[in-house]
Subunit: 134 residues, 2 copies
């Protein structure tokens, strides 16, 4: 578990929501592309900074999610920032494999709103078949 | 109020949280800088797309928040995307006035984690005194 004491100033600085979570946005430090947004609890944020890689908290699985643990698509931490309200985090990451999304795409934000169709439309290519990732 | 009927496919596509909200990230379309993250309810998202400007839902004030209504720092919508889980939105925006943050900074993410100090440190300049904005 964590090596840091429970009461840590920089962790207390974060305004955790009522579930003890904070949204964390991962941005590709080279391309500037927003790759994904997931959630961190206190331990996830602590480990992210300790290990210099993105570690989230999976709300569906209710456990720590070491991004890339099964896919190999680790996000190496280059910089981490907190916003003015202290309730959102942005990370600059190096996205190993160039794929952040479980659909095999670079970014999870692959659907753009099309005003002609009045709907969300997938516009980004699948780089790797998910069957070959997991 | 809204011109669209209540039951709209593209709005139903979004996975609203238990408070009826979705996180919305604003990225400067020119610089790639992540400016802020706030929340939208159904009406806010609908109006954002109708009016081509970022309209959020303020959780503290519990009402629609037409970004820029008091500061003039409107965010003009260039593109809007939905993620794979349909529970996060990213907007490409033109940030009028070059200031998104209520502190008078370009971005709300002006504090970076410093491993030497083991704390969040403000690193971005205040472009305009908030007293001169509001």
């Amino acid at each position: 578990m964590s090596q840091l004491p429970d009461n840590v100033k920089w962790l207390d600085e974060v305004k955790w929501d009522k579930d003890g979570l904070v949204p964390a946005i991962a941005q590709d430090t080279e391309t500037g592309r927003i790759l994904m947004m997931a959630w961190m609890n206190r331990e996830a944020l602590e480990l992210t900074i300790q290990e210099d890689r993105a570690i989230y908290y999976s709300r569906s699985r209710q456990q720590l999610w070491r991004k890339g643990e099964s896919s190999g698509h680790v996000q190496t931490l280059k910089e981490i920032r907190l916003d003015c309200d202290a309730d959102v985090i942005v990370m600059q990451v190096e996205q190993i494999g160039g794929i952040a999304c479980h659909t095999g795409r670079e970014s999870c934000f692959y659907r753009v709103f099309d005003k002609k169709q009045m709907n969300w439309v997938a516009v980004d290519e699948v780089i790797k078949d998910p069957k070959d990732i997991y």
